[in-house]
Assembly symmetry: C2
Homo-oligomer: 227 residues x 2
Amino acid sequence: MYNELDFELSSLKGESEGSLRLGASSTIAQYVIPELLAKFHKRYPKVTLSMVAGNSKQVESLLINNEIDVALVENSSGIQELRYTAFAKDEIVAVTGAKSVYAQKDTISVAELISAPIILREEGSGTLETLMQAFSQNNIDASLLHAAAHLGATEAIKHFLDYYDSIAFVSRFAIRKEVKARSLKILQIPGLSILRQFRIAERMGPQLTPQSLFIDFLFKNNIKVGI
Amino acid sequence: MYNELDFELSSLKGESEGSLRLGASSTIAQYVIPELLAKFHKRYPKVTLSMVAGNSKQVESLLINNEIDVALVENSSGIQELRYTAFAKDEIVAVTGAKSVYAQKDTISVAELISAPIILREEGSGTLETLMQAFSQNNIDASLLHAAAHLGATEAIKHFLDYYDSIAFVSRFAIRKEVKARSLKILQIPGLSILRQFRIAERMGPQLTPQSLFIDFLFKNNIKVGI
């Protein structure tokens, strides 16, 4: 098993070994962290990587139970036993299929939004929670929206938009490839900006382990939405 | 709440109403069913759609507890109280980044596979289970593989492959766009073909509800891997 002193010695020689067990909420796991994990594995090839995906609460529980070493979560979550550090900003944006009737304009008013079919995530999703908070803060009555479907996966929503004229709300990170390939289009909603913070959650106490290497690595590699 | 007689009458008039609550294992939820859901919603706009994603066992439990109406699962699962019907064939394929050293050839031998870094799904994943069964049936010792990482989401694996020369095993459905865009490349492994069946799971008993409409729709729309 992993031994902290061995780790320290091999770390000084630049040959860090051990395992890094990550947990990440679904947007982070799918779209934010894989590039960085690949780079981390190139830099520290002897550190065995694993990552589980779940919602923020699920990965926080895994962290408390010592089943993972680091959790990457959204800012809506928070448990007293854990220490949190912000590492990246995210934005939830309105998006539509490039061929949809809604893609003919670059902006959409709140009134137009309310008359359009909307595709939402499932109950319990952090993205849905952030969206509902933002609507409430902007005095938009979410009960007036026409939810055509609640789909429990961002990839499902993206594919649905290819075939159905509608509007969805997803993380900018989730649609970088599609926006670049012009198969999906972001719609601005004047006056509405939906931001959130991604955070690192750790157990308390000093650490000199693959997870501290990884957290350093996270901060050295500035993560920004590339669109 | 939903009323079966009302449904029957409105169904005869071609105006089916009600709600369809689906559960689907993650590959199906993300890559197989969204296009069909969008078409179904065009055909039956008054049927409210929702879909939760999970592993096969999780969505089977939701079905038994009447929290969803239909589950779409992989063939490795199976519970006596449920009725199963096959609806699509899937294939798990070896895939690599188009710029990786492994992409220089179209095929890879088992010996080459064993010396390459492999990216696998997490424990509990149906895709990982199918892969391990196939290895065992083909006398490939999975313990000889060099797992560079276990990642709990297919999207994470696809992004990781963009930045790290390695080989992963994923459903053909999951990489249709990337293979078409030539950012990922399928590698043939002579003698190894990893097939599975996607299945519809239903509770027992007669049904005339949005779920029967949906199941009919599934069969009328022949689902095939398009690559």
